[in-house]
Amino acid sequence: MYEETLFLRCRNMLVSFFFVYRTQIFGLLTGVLFGFLMSRAGATTYDYHAKMFLFEDFQLMIVIATAVVIAMIGVWLLKKTHIHAVATGEEVDFVKKPYQKGLIIGAALFGVGWGMTASCPGTIPAMIGEGKVAGFFALAGILIGTMAYGILQSHLHLARQQAEQQSTPSKDTD
Protein backbone atom coordinates (compact mmCIF):
# COMPACT_ATOMS: atom_id res chain seq x y z
CA MET A 1 0.00 0.00 0.00
CA TYR A 2 1.36 3.33 -1.07
CA GLU A 3 1.43 5.90 1.73
CA GLU A 4 1.92 9.58 1.22
CA THR A 5 4.45 11.27 3.45
CA LEU A 6 3.56 14.59 5.01
CA PHE A 7 5.93 16.35 2.66
CA LEU A 8 4.31 14.79 -0.41
CA ARG A 9 0.83 15.63 0.83
CA CYS A 10 1.78 19.26 1.39
CA ARG A 11 3.46 19.42 -2.00
CA ASN A 12 0.44 17.94 -3.76
CA MET A 13 -1.85 20.37 -1.96
CA LEU A 14 0.29 23.32 -3.01
CA VAL A 15 0.50 22.12 -6.60
CA SER A 16 -3.25 21.58 -6.88
CA PHE A 17 -3.94 24.93 -5.19
CA PHE A 18 -1.67 26.67 -7.68
CA PHE A 19 -3.26 24.82 -10.58
CA VAL A 20 -6.87 25.52 -9.60
CA TYR A 21 -6.28 29.21 -8.90
CA ARG A 22 -3.65 29.78 -11.59
CA THR A 23 -5.55 32.54 -13.44
CA GLN A 24 -6.16 34.42 -10.17
CA ILE A 25 -2.51 34.03 -9.10
CA PHE A 26 -1.22 35.12 -12.50
CA GLY A 27 -3.65 38.04 -12.46
CA LEU A 28 -2.43 39.13 -9.03
CA LEU A 29 1.25 38.86 -9.99
CA THR A 30 0.82 40.77 -13.26
CA GLY A 31 -1.16 43.38 -11.32
CA VAL A 32 1.67 43.84 -8.84
CA LEU A 33 4.15 44.21 -11.69
CA PHE A 34 1.87 46.67 -13.52
CA GLY A 35 1.36 48.82 -10.42
CA PHE A 36 5.09 48.89 -9.75
CA LEU A 37 5.89 49.91 -13.34
CA MET A 38 3.16 52.59 -13.39
CA SER A 39 4.65 54.04 -10.22
CA ARG A 40 8.23 53.94 -11.52
CA ALA A 41 7.17 55.45 -14.86
CA GLY A 42 5.79 58.51 -13.05
CA ALA A 43 2.18 57.85 -14.02
CA THR A 44 1.15 58.04 -10.35
CA THR A 45 2.69 61.49 -9.88
CA TYR A 46 0.11 64.19 -10.55
CA ASP A 47 2.58 66.76 -11.82
CA TYR A 48 3.68 64.59 -14.75
CA HIS A 49 0.09 64.49 -16.06
CA ALA A 50 -0.32 68.26 -15.80
CA LYS A 51 3.11 68.92 -17.34
CA MET A 52 2.42 66.51 -20.20
CA PHE A 53 -0.76 68.32 -21.24
CA LEU A 54 0.84 71.74 -20.76
CA PHE A 55 3.82 70.55 -22.87
CA GLU A 56 6.35 71.28 -20.13
CA ASP A 57 7.67 67.76 -19.55
CA PHE A 58 7.43 64.83 -21.94
CA GLN A 59 8.09 62.00 -19.46
CA LEU A 60 4.73 60.24 -19.81
CA MET A 61 4.50 60.88 -23.55
CA ILE A 62 7.90 59.22 -24.13
CA VAL A 63 6.88 56.38 -21.80
CA ILE A 64 3.68 55.57 -23.69
CA ALA A 65 5.26 56.05 -27.14
CA THR A 66 8.20 53.74 -26.29
CA ALA A 67 5.87 51.20 -24.68
CA VAL A 68 3.55 51.12 -27.71
CA VAL A 69 6.45 50.68 -30.17
CA ILE A 70 8.06 47.90 -28.09
CA ALA A 71 4.70 46.17 -27.59
CA MET A 72 3.95 46.47 -31.32
CA ILE A 73 7.17 44.63 -32.19
CA GLY A 74 6.39 42.04 -29.51
CA VAL A 75 2.84 41.47 -30.75
CA TRP A 76 4.18 41.04 -34.30
CA LEU A 77 6.72 38.47 -33.07
CA LEU A 78 4.12 36.61 -30.97
CA LYS A 79 1.76 36.45 -33.97
CA LYS A 80 4.58 35.10 -36.18
CA THR A 81 5.58 32.35 -33.76
CA HIS A 82 1.95 31.30 -32.94
CA ILE A 83 2.99 31.04 -29.30
CA HIS A 84 0.73 29.32 -26.76
CA ALA A 85 -0.35 31.17 -23.63
CA VAL A 86 0.84 29.83 -20.27
CA ALA A 87 -2.46 30.18 -18.38
CA THR A 88 -4.81 28.70 -21.00
CA GLY A 89 -2.50 26.48 -23.09
CA GLU A 90 -4.19 27.84 -26.20
CA GLU A 91 -2.86 30.15 -28.85
CA VAL A 92 -2.66 33.80 -27.77
CA ASP A 93 -5.92 35.57 -28.59
CA PHE A 94 -5.26 39.05 -29.99
CA VAL A 95 -8.88 40.05 -29.56
CA LYS A 96 -9.39 43.67 -30.58
CA LYS A 97 -11.83 45.99 -28.89
CA PRO A 98 -14.61 46.61 -31.42
CA TYR A 99 -16.01 50.02 -32.34
CA GLN A 100 -19.03 50.47 -30.13
CA LYS A 101 -21.79 53.05 -30.05
CA GLY A 102 -20.83 55.93 -27.79
CA LEU A 103 -17.09 55.39 -28.13
CA ILE A 104 -16.46 59.02 -29.11
CA ILE A 105 -18.66 60.50 -26.36
CA GLY A 106 -17.29 58.03 -23.83
CA ALA A 107 -13.71 58.83 -24.77
CA ALA A 108 -14.41 62.57 -24.49
CA LEU A 109 -15.94 62.10 -21.01
CA PHE A 110 -12.99 59.94 -20.00
CA GLY A 111 -10.58 62.66 -21.13
CA VAL A 112 -12.38 65.26 -19.00
CA GLY A 113 -12.07 62.91 -16.03
CA TRP A 114 -8.39 62.37 -16.81
CA GLY A 115 -7.78 66.12 -16.85
CA MET A 116 -9.77 66.64 -13.64
CA THR A 117 -8.19 63.92 -11.51
CA ALA A 118 -4.79 63.56 -13.29
CA SER A 119 -5.16 59.80 -13.03
CA CYS A 120 -6.65 56.95 -14.98
CA PRO A 121 -8.25 53.65 -13.90
CA GLY A 122 -4.91 51.82 -14.04
CA THR A 123 -2.97 54.26 -11.89
CA ILE A 124 -5.57 55.00 -9.18
CA PRO A 125 -5.02 51.70 -7.28
CA ALA A 126 -1.26 52.26 -7.48
CA MET A 127 -1.74 55.76 -6.03
CA ILE A 128 -3.67 54.24 -3.13
CA GLY A 129 -0.80 51.81 -2.56
CA GLU A 130 1.56 54.77 -2.39
CA GLY A 131 -0.59 56.39 0.29
CA LYS A 132 -2.17 59.11 -1.84
CA VAL A 133 -5.52 59.88 -0.18
CA ALA A 134 -6.87 61.50 -3.35
CA GLY A 135 -6.85 58.02 -4.91
CA PHE A 136 -9.56 56.78 -2.52
CA PHE A 137 -11.99 59.47 -3.68
CA ALA A 138 -11.18 58.88 -7.34
CA LEU A 139 -11.68 55.13 -6.78
CA ALA A 140 -15.10 55.78 -5.23
CA GLY A 141 -15.91 57.93 -8.26
CA ILE A 142 -14.86 55.21 -10.72
CA LEU A 143 -17.02 52.63 -8.96
CA ILE A 144 -19.99 55.04 -9.02
CA GLY A 145 -19.44 55.73 -12.73
CA THR A 146 -19.11 52.04 -13.62
CA MET A 147 -22.15 51.20 -11.52
CA ALA A 148 -24.15 53.96 -13.23
CA TYR A 149 -23.25 52.54 -16.64
CA GLY A 150 -24.23 49.02 -15.56
CA ILE A 151 -27.58 50.13 -14.16
CA LEU A 152 -28.28 52.20 -17.29
CA GLN A 153 -27.43 49.26 -19.57
CA SER A 154 -29.59 46.87 -17.52
CA HIS A 155 -32.56 49.23 -17.75
CA LEU A 156 -32.08 49.77 -21.49
CA HIS A 157 -31.86 46.00 -21.98
CA LEU A 158 -35.04 45.46 -19.97
CA ALA A 159 -36.88 48.20 -21.88
CA ARG A 160 -35.79 46.67 -25.19
CA GLN A 161 -37.04 43.24 -24.11
CA GLN A 162 -40.40 44.65 -23.04
CA ALA A 163 -40.75 46.52 -26.33
CA GLU A 164 -40.08 43.29 -28.23
CA GLN A 165 -42.62 41.36 -26.15
CA GLN A 166 -45.26 44.01 -26.77
CA SER A 167 -44.57 44.21 -30.48
CA THR A 168 -44.71 40.44 -31.20
CA PRO A 169 -48.34 39.68 -30.09
CA SER A 170 -49.66 42.79 -31.84
CA LYS A 171 -48.19 41.48 -35.10
CA ASP A 172 -50.13 38.22 -34.65
CA THR A 173 -53.45 40.02 -34.26
CA ASP A 174 -52.78 42.07 -37.38
Binding site: G35, D93, F137, I142
Partner: protein, 162 residues
Amino acid sequence: MEVIVWSAWLAGLAIGLFVIFHFWLMGKPAGCSTGYGNVCGLMCQRVSYFREGEYRQLNNAKLWFLLGIPLGGLISALSSPEPWHFNFSMGMYDEILPQTLAGKAIWLVFGGALLGFGARLAGACTTGHALVGGAMLNPPSLLAGMIFFLSAFFTTHLLFGT
Protein backbone atom coordinates in the same frame (compact mmCIF):
# COMPACT_ATOMS: atom_id res chain seq x y z
CA MET B 1 4.93 61.29 -1.55
CA GLU B 2 7.96 61.13 -3.83
CA VAL B 3 8.74 57.84 -5.49
CA ILE B 4 11.74 56.96 -7.59
CA VAL B 5 10.94 57.67 -11.24
CA TRP B 6 12.96 55.94 -13.91
CA SER B 7 14.00 57.64 -17.10
CA ALA B 8 11.16 57.71 -19.62
CA TRP B 9 12.94 55.43 -22.09
CA LEU B 10 13.62 52.73 -19.50
CA ALA B 11 10.08 52.89 -18.08
CA GLY B 12 8.58 52.77 -21.59
CA LEU B 13 10.73 49.75 -22.45
CA ALA B 14 9.65 48.01 -19.24
CA ILE B 15 5.94 48.69 -19.83
CA GLY B 16 6.21 47.55 -23.46
CA LEU B 17 7.83 44.30 -22.32
CA PHE B 18 5.09 43.98 -19.67
CA VAL B 19 2.39 44.14 -22.37
CA ILE B 20 4.14 41.35 -24.33
CA PHE B 21 4.64 39.33 -21.13
CA HIS B 22 0.94 39.70 -20.27
CA PHE B 23 -0.06 38.44 -23.73
CA TRP B 24 2.21 35.41 -23.39
CA LEU B 25 1.16 34.59 -19.83
CA MET B 26 -2.61 35.18 -19.98
CA GLY B 27 -3.29 34.83 -23.71
CA LYS B 28 -5.45 37.95 -23.58
CA PRO B 29 -4.81 41.70 -23.89
CA ALA B 30 -4.16 43.54 -20.63
CA GLY B 31 -6.92 45.84 -19.37
CA CYS B 32 -7.74 47.78 -16.23
CA SER B 33 -11.16 49.38 -16.36
CA THR B 34 -13.10 46.13 -17.02
CA GLY B 35 -12.05 44.91 -13.57
CA TYR B 36 -14.03 47.71 -11.89
CA GLY B 37 -17.16 46.09 -13.33
CA ASN B 38 -16.24 42.88 -11.47
CA VAL B 39 -16.03 44.86 -8.22
CA CYS B 40 -19.42 46.47 -8.96
CA GLY B 41 -20.90 43.06 -9.73
CA LEU B 42 -19.64 41.67 -6.43
CA MET B 43 -20.94 44.67 -4.49
CA CYS B 44 -24.38 44.79 -6.08
CA GLN B 45 -25.62 41.44 -7.35
CA ARG B 46 -28.97 42.63 -8.69
CA VAL B 47 -27.64 44.61 -11.66
CA SER B 48 -28.03 42.22 -14.58
CA TYR B 49 -25.33 43.94 -16.68
CA PHE B 50 -22.68 42.71 -14.24
CA ARG B 51 -23.88 39.11 -14.54
CA GLU B 52 -23.74 38.63 -18.32
CA GLY B 53 -21.22 38.56 -21.15
CA GLU B 54 -17.69 39.29 -20.01
CA TYR B 55 -18.94 39.51 -16.41
CA ARG B 56 -20.35 35.95 -16.29
CA GLN B 57 -17.40 34.81 -14.19
CA LEU B 58 -16.66 37.55 -11.64
CA ASN B 59 -13.75 35.95 -9.75
CA ASN B 60 -11.38 36.10 -12.70
CA ALA B 61 -7.91 37.34 -13.60
CA LYS B 62 -9.13 40.91 -14.28
CA LEU B 63 -10.37 41.30 -10.70
CA TRP B 64 -7.13 39.97 -9.22
CA PHE B 65 -5.10 42.11 -11.61
CA LEU B 66 -6.86 45.14 -10.14
CA LEU B 67 -6.24 43.90 -6.59
CA GLY B 68 -2.55 43.46 -7.38
CA ILE B 69 -1.95 47.04 -8.55
CA PRO B 70 -2.03 48.64 -5.03
CA LEU B 71 0.54 46.08 -3.88
CA GLY B 72 2.79 47.13 -6.75
CA GLY B 73 2.39 50.77 -5.80
CA LEU B 74 3.12 49.91 -2.17
CA ILE B 75 6.32 48.03 -3.11
CA SER B 76 7.40 50.98 -5.25
CA ALA B 77 6.74 53.46 -2.43
CA LEU B 78 8.46 51.31 0.22
CA SER B 79 11.57 50.96 -1.91
CA SER B 80 11.78 54.75 -2.33
CA PRO B 81 13.92 56.78 0.08
CA GLU B 82 10.98 58.70 1.59
CA PRO B 83 9.16 56.77 4.36
CA TRP B 84 5.61 55.63 3.50
CA HIS B 85 2.81 57.85 4.81
CA PHE B 86 -0.68 59.00 3.85
CA ASN B 87 -0.83 62.41 2.22
CA PHE B 88 -3.36 64.51 0.34
CA SER B 89 -1.04 66.70 -1.70
CA MET B 90 -1.59 66.80 -5.45
CA GLY B 91 1.36 68.92 -6.56
CA MET B 92 0.42 71.50 -9.16
CA TYR B 93 -3.28 70.65 -8.77
CA ASP B 94 -3.33 71.94 -5.17
CA GLU B 95 -3.58 75.52 -6.40
CA ILE B 96 -6.40 75.10 -8.90
CA LEU B 97 -8.63 72.52 -7.19
CA PRO B 98 -11.26 73.59 -4.60
CA GLN B 99 -9.39 74.61 -1.46
CA THR B 100 -11.63 72.95 1.13
CA LEU B 101 -11.29 69.25 1.88
CA ALA B 102 -14.91 68.49 1.03
CA GLY B 103 -14.68 70.47 -2.21
CA LYS B 104 -11.61 68.48 -3.23
CA ALA B 105 -13.34 65.21 -2.37
CA ILE B 106 -16.43 66.08 -4.43
CA TRP B 107 -14.24 67.21 -7.33
CA LEU B 108 -12.28 63.93 -7.28
CA VAL B 109 -15.38 61.75 -6.96
CA PHE B 110 -17.00 63.58 -9.88
CA GLY B 111 -13.84 63.26 -11.99
CA GLY B 112 -13.59 59.59 -11.07
CA ALA B 113 -17.22 59.02 -12.05
CA LEU B 114 -16.49 60.54 -15.46
CA LEU B 115 -13.50 58.18 -15.77
CA GLY B 116 -15.56 55.13 -14.86
CA PHE B 117 -18.58 55.98 -17.01
CA GLY B 118 -16.48 57.13 -19.96
CA ALA B 119 -14.25 54.06 -19.83
CA ARG B 120 -17.23 51.71 -20.00
CA LEU B 121 -18.89 53.76 -22.75
CA ALA B 122 -15.67 53.76 -24.79
CA GLY B 123 -15.00 50.09 -24.01
CA ALA B 124 -11.60 50.43 -22.32
CA CYS B 125 -9.31 52.89 -20.53
CA THR B 126 -5.88 54.28 -21.34
CA THR B 127 -4.29 50.86 -20.87
CA GLY B 128 -6.78 48.93 -22.97
CA HIS B 129 -7.18 51.43 -25.79
CA ALA B 130 -4.04 53.56 -26.03
CA LEU B 131 -1.39 51.09 -24.84
CA VAL B 132 -2.56 47.60 -25.84
CA GLY B 133 -4.94 48.67 -28.62
CA GLY B 134 -2.28 50.95 -30.04
CA ALA B 135 0.21 48.09 -30.00
CA MET B 136 -2.23 45.96 -32.02
CA LEU B 137 -2.92 48.93 -34.37
CA ASN B 138 -6.65 48.58 -33.79
CA PRO B 139 -8.40 51.55 -35.53
CA PRO B 140 -11.16 52.13 -32.89
CA SER B 141 -8.52 52.05 -30.16
CA LEU B 142 -6.33 54.57 -31.96
CA LEU B 143 -9.36 56.84 -32.39
CA ALA B 144 -10.32 56.47 -28.72
CA GLY B 145 -6.74 57.08 -27.61
CA MET B 146 -6.58 60.29 -29.63
CA ILE B 147 -9.88 61.55 -28.19
CA PHE B 148 -8.74 60.64 -24.64
CA PHE B 149 -5.66 62.74 -25.13
CA LEU B 150 -7.31 65.71 -26.88
CA SER B 151 -10.13 65.91 -24.35
CA ALA B 152 -7.72 65.74 -21.39
CA PHE B 153 -5.50 68.30 -23.12
CA PHE B 154 -8.34 70.84 -23.37
CA THR B 155 -9.54 70.12 -19.84
CA THR B 156 -6.08 70.66 -18.38
CA HIS B 157 -5.61 73.89 -20.33
CA LEU B 158 -8.99 75.16 -19.12
CA LEU B 159 -8.10 74.26 -15.52
CA PHE B 160 -4.71 75.94 -15.58
CA GLY B 161 -6.07 78.91 -17.55
CA THR B 162 -3.50 78.87 -20.33
